[in-house]
Symmetry: C2
Subunit: 226 residues, 2 copies
Amino acid sequence: MANPGPGRPRLEQRTRRGRTPRAEILDAAGELFTTNGYATTSTRAVADAVGIRQASLYHHFAAKDDILDALLAETIATPLELAVRMRDLPERADTRLYALAWFDVRQLCAAHWNLGALYLLPELRTDRFASFRLRRDELRGHYETFAAAVIAEAADDAVPGAEVLPFRLVETVINMRSDEGAAPAYAERTIPDATLRMLGWAGDLREVRAAAGRLLDRLAVPLPLG
Amino acid sequence: MANPGPGRPRLEQRTRRGRTPRAEILDAAGELFTTNGYATTSTRAVADAVGIRQASLYHHFAAKDDILDALLAETIATPLELAVRMRDLPERADTRLYALAWFDVRQLCAAHWNLGALYLLPELRTDRFASFRLRRDELRGHYETFAAAVIAEAADDAVPGAEVLPFRLVETVINMRSDEGAAPAYAERTIPDATLRMLGWAGDLREVRAAAGRLLDRLAVPLPLG
């Protein structure tokens, strides 16, 4: 680590998470963007927080928005991969939707910084983040497809339009973390459970949870903080 | 309107919403904070957007955070008033929760700027906004009380912890507006409906919606955009 320079306090004295300089930059930026704000955080501040020179930072990221883009990508990469893998599996849609919601709530809770709070930044509506928006829309589309299939399979009394809600309900853990410091421990059960219930699904929640757990095991998708 | 000064483009040429200078300042700030970001918007930019001098703005708001505080207060004032008025009414809890969620979804959708997107600003975690946070927690508490009563009254098969979810589900219209430009028209039916369903409530949705509409009429709470 380079000397951060006289009179320049280090934001964090502890060792940064991550084994590579790139991961350390992302960790420091995740902290600064969610704690101090994106617009007011300079790449210089990120470099200082890592304890590297700004020139070294530019070796990994050409600009601040590239750091933001990489952080945002992390928030959807694994759930999107999981959704794609589950798309054509023969399991019932309720099991697949439950597994996706469960995994996604857990990974959003387990992420060290509450990066989903950055989704509402005005910067995200610019062309620079069009590719990220597309990928998040893709994840949203998988949720809606699974949810529509749950409604078609099993709901006697579906609420019209409810297929858009599971994705939204899962992302409320971001607001819980922002308001309460952490999402409540029961969120990883309550939210997937409620996701099915609000579709008008009246099945056995313990059974679907067990089936979703087996599916995630079989796909070898580690549930963060297991 | 004062001359905005040579070479200084007006952000918006149209007449500002609001009949008073204070309301015009709030409208302009709502647009700038949600469109360009809070940290990067100066009180000077707000004054320019209204077409007044910065000194005139300071006559109404001593600092930028006072403007933000006033905007945030608007997002919860009427639902909080409604919740307080309904607290001790003899109506069933499902009717009262439905009415609150319906009204709140509508007012969040109808507000000209998507001010709820500002809830996740890091600035809101500072002492300056402790009073706003308390009032929003109060609104959240009313939702949870009504939801817990719905579960106690009627749910055969409640999801444990689900009483925290209705408030969160209602606020997802903020994310819908941010992602899609506007919440879908069906949100004002789908979200209150889903709010009851996810509590394990299995009653007749048309009946509860009709009862909630009558209750709101009787309380003379105008549903924004009718």
